[in-house]
Symmetry: D2
Subunit: 363 residues, 4 copies
Amino acid sequence: MIKVSIIGASGYSGVCLLHALSSRPDVAISAITSQTYSGKKLSSIFPQFTKTYHINNPISELEFRVFDPDVISESSVVFFCLPHNESSKLIPDVLKRNKKIKIIDVGADFRFDNLEVYEEFYGKHNARSLNSKFIYGLSDIFYDKIKNSQFISNPGCYPTGALLPILPLVFKGVADFNVPIIINSLSGISGAGRGLKLQNLFCEVENSVKAYNVWSHRHLPEIKEKIENAFLNSSSKSDNKPYILFTPHVIPVTRGILTTIYMNLNKGVKEENIKEIYNEFYGDSKFVSIINNIEDCNIKNVIYSNNCHIAFEPDKKQNKGMIKIVSAIDNLGKGASLQAIQNMNLMLGLEPDYMVPEYSPFP
Amino acid sequence: MIKVSIIGASGYSGVCLLHALSSRPDVAISAITSQTYSGKKLSSIFPQFTKTYHINNPISELEFRVFDPDVISESSVVFFCLPHNESSKLIPDVLKRNKKIKIIDVGADFRFDNLEVYEEFYGKHNARSLNSKFIYGLSDIFYDKIKNSQFISNPGCYPTGALLPILPLVFKGVADFNVPIIINSLSGISGAGRGLKLQNLFCEVENSVKAYNVWSHRHLPEIKEKIENAFLNSSSKSDNKPYILFTPHVIPVTRGILTTIYMNLNKGVKEENIKEIYNEFYGDSKFVSIINNIEDCNIKNVIYSNNCHIAFEPDKKQNKGMIKIVSAIDNLGKGASLQAIQNMNLMLGLEPDYMVPEYSPFP
Amino acid sequence: MIKVSIIGASGYSGVCLLHALSSRPDVAISAITSQTYSGKKLSSIFPQFTKTYHINNPISELEFRVFDPDVISESSVVFFCLPHNESSKLIPDVLKRNKKIKIIDVGADFRFDNLEVYEEFYGKHNARSLNSKFIYGLSDIFYDKIKNSQFISNPGCYPTGALLPILPLVFKGVADFNVPIIINSLSGISGAGRGLKLQNLFCEVENSVKAYNVWSHRHLPEIKEKIENAFLNSSSKSDNKPYILFTPHVIPVTRGILTTIYMNLNKGVKEENIKEIYNEFYGDSKFVSIINNIEDCNIKNVIYSNNCHIAFEPDKKQNKGMIKIVSAIDNLGKGASLQAIQNMNLMLGLEPDYMVPEYSPFP
Amino acid sequence: MIKVSIIGASGYSGVCLLHALSSRPDVAISAITSQTYSGKKLSSIFPQFTKTYHINNPISELEFRVFDPDVISESSVVFFCLPHNESSKLIPDVLKRNKKIKIIDVGADFRFDNLEVYEEFYGKHNARSLNSKFIYGLSDIFYDKIKNSQFISNPGCYPTGALLPILPLVFKGVADFNVPIIINSLSGISGAGRGLKLQNLFCEVENSVKAYNVWSHRHLPEIKEKIENAFLNSSSKSDNKPYILFTPHVIPVTRGILTTIYMNLNKGVKEENIKEIYNEFYGDSKFVSIINNIEDCNIKNVIYSNNCHIAFEPDKKQNKGMIKIVSAIDNLGKGASLQAIQNMNLMLGLEPDYMVPEYSPFP
């Protein structure tokens, strides 16, 4: 039996984790924490859990509690779903009590190799010495490193949608870095979390769309570091380092991210080469699919799932090497909680898709 | 291995059935039919099925075919998801070839005891002699009759949302029929199906709400017959037969039905009595829950699930016996495909909730 | 030139008033107040006003200020758009400085004849002696009293949608009060205002619907008092006083209220009689229309306007006298700011529709 | 009195024109045509027009008719709101009867200088000899040419949103054409018109987003031609011709286009220079505004209006000359019907903003 705790279980990604884990016969939820709701029954706050019975312990009877390292350290796996700079305060206390506990941080604290960059965007880091132990959990790329590991930093939602289509092309050295890579992302509102902000009210969001933090979003340095790392590990002989532009937008949907990418390919790289590269990387993946028709690569088709759909089309007419790539994910599924479960599976030596909910309801 | 066929698999309820069945290791999908898409691969029409692998046969490789009774009769269970008056044309041909085949009709053809009423609303019936073999599959009420049965008519979506809260009160004789029972229902657009109608276009539906067929909706006689039957089988001594008003509305959500019911209780019936009655009927149900707070009884909390949430509040101030009851279901889940699976489970002697997806994503 | 002030100009109804008044050449906006935004330029908070030029003073250059009775009392007309129990604190100070100033209270403070009922639902009243001076501004019914008056209490949004269809039938004595009148209302989210509440977040509201305050909503006693008054002034000989049930729901649209009403008519009252009654009351109204087809009576068709659409259909089959009536309004237009302008016109001796924006965009 | 006809008055842009013109005392609607609805009263098809009275002729009494050049040629101004290749069939017949009639083609037939390009994307042109008489009606840029002209081709919706921010920078020679100009546009569903297509059903659109026609959309050559023309008329000394990438997406809103533009500026061009250029072009425009905060430049703030909001932000950190520009318009307002009225005003020698509805409702 895998004893699991969820720290910060009343936010959107915490609740999604609970949902997804609730049907597993091999998992027992041992603790869920929430500062706001401690002492309250899960189903009194989230009535959709009424009569949800976990095979091992009744989900609907679970109670939120405050974080207590003594309790949490009795779990085998702990998921942290907290605002940044919080998990790095708590994890050391848990590790002191249980050195072998497996940790998946859904937040940003351990996503960066370069802590200078982290601190520029997120402020002072609370556990610098732990940082290098964490592996970046982009599971469909880095599964070998994730397997049987103890510490995973779960990728950001925008980075997941951007890196899955881009990294293979960078690793394989087919990207031309003389032209900027442009990442134009459209995210559902749940990406902003459950906090009370004027800009997240229904009447402000509905029937509107906007760009925000167009040069300064925190996910830009995360995307950049991972692309630069791939570039350094690639066969590319480009002199230019990648120049990456990232523009997040919010659109009036609850879940999902559509990412439209503009990049240039090296001379001579053909459509078939791209197909082959994606096939090499994702042919065996249960979750990443190449979709032929770019219109079919939409949010509706991946929502509530751990899937990432990718479609691409090069500029055949003007023959200048530009390619457009579109990817679709669910920001709370693939972009957070379900990728976290995929990571848990790998960490435990299970198949990556073991009991990951395969649910993309239609319509 | 349960061999299952779905007739009319490209409509909303057919696709939902496919989704829900795709994760069952004990089910093999043997045929899916569609007139529009016959010859096409499922995943070419519904790309969300790309890389969806069924443990027994790969869902994503399934192909739509035209209906062929020879092929279909090889299944153990057949779901019919067709417009009315269609299944009743096809079922006799299947039965000729396989007398023991289990049939679940998601459509309306066999929902009525009284064929006169059926024909008034739906036109000439195509298989009158078969009609009496069918059991009305409101599973959380009629599970005893459904168990091990061969023929099930799956209830309409509005009737499911209305009958689950009303029938227990009628059976127990606490409803006062001197005052009309008013059923005010709000349905998501998917209830209208996937047909091309001006009134279902995004721009016509979004930010609007309307009532329709306010005296003549086809689900009214279905609701009426089941309430009248319950009345006749009840301990009620009322002289008045039930007078039922039903008003359907469409609201700009994709899935879900919220039903607000106004009825009068007999003198002396108290809030606790209602609680007890519901507890007697649904205490053991995995799917029907009584929700304390009427605001928590909303569509968000039951969407994509087979759950029905019910909340009620009597008029404590004016003390005239009126009670308001609200129920929430997913019209495609509890109101169609997932209740159909619950019925299949019962027909096969399985637990009603055996592998019924328990998924109510949030947000 | 009509000098107008708006108190509480940064809420939804305040902004709508500003919009609607900004195109009038006969109006000069002299002051807009907001506690939250005092000192800020209107267009810095509401960028849609950038480059909106009023013929008399440039709207986009307006600045929010704190309420100051000396300044406000220089206006000819003041609109109060405040939470309840606020306007009644401020109005006496304004009146001390300007006895002839015309006041339209968009809030609830002066809507009740019976202050006992007011205080039961809203708490202690702050200006009881002023209360009787106010006329209830349901303009399409009470225009005669409103004409040239000084004090108007603008009706609530739900009451407007309910009373416009019901009052004529009560005044004319055709309503049967032995059966309860049921008012089932569906409101857009803007009805809840611009406050920061979890339940108004996009992700909580979208794709959901719920009922709330089903026996205790503050608009129930308002509806009740006006129907009872009409009953007392009617030719009805019923012994029963009206028994009214009102159930508000929120639906995922920004603006609009659809009200579905169930009532019983006295024996012998025919469809034509209802038509005649409505024609007598609304034949000359520019804003209230009888719509033949109940499906056409929807929110989309009245949104952003001061129109009220009404459709009705009696139960022709069972012949028991029940009638269903549906009305559609924009909660911020007819249900608040545009009706307030209609009232201003009447108070100033203008035509009721003088420069009331007649804008119901489609789609 | 300006006698106006609208050809194709039952589509979204036709209806919007009707709405906007209905409040003008100087306009009389003399004919509205519709093949689908000929013979029907406007208000029977669009009930929102019930009781909409035009000062000169009652809008709600208008009747759709079939196109008849004898009738239409009696107007002073004719708007054509037809699918492409239709207006060019009809206009010659009208001109034969009335040589001075003013024509505004809201469709694509006369938008191109280069008919080869037109025919590549739209098929054979029906009135080549007329083409050169038409002026491209991007009114806030080409007002001098439009003034007192007889023939206007109203720009496409995407081109309007893209060209208003881009053209000034091209005319002024500050754009660097060594880097591609990337135009990433997000459009509301009404852009697809009122036709019955599966992809426009509420259940398919809601909670989804997709890119489409990513290299082949018909608005690309329109955007391209106008930028190239500006380039040729500019002070730019670039050797490279502009290379333009345009990617349209549909988002689940009814109206509105948000366009995110990525381009490179020539060395030494500073943020202030951009501000000055925009101020030179749009300082006097009533409709185009520069918004400081990019988040404030959203669809909600321009919807239902003839406004275009533009915000921009250069890459200050990496200092490579890239700039991001965002523009927001209403696709049916500024992108179609309201710009058409602005053009009509200019053609008639009126102020461009004369009675153009200034309505951007909030929320």
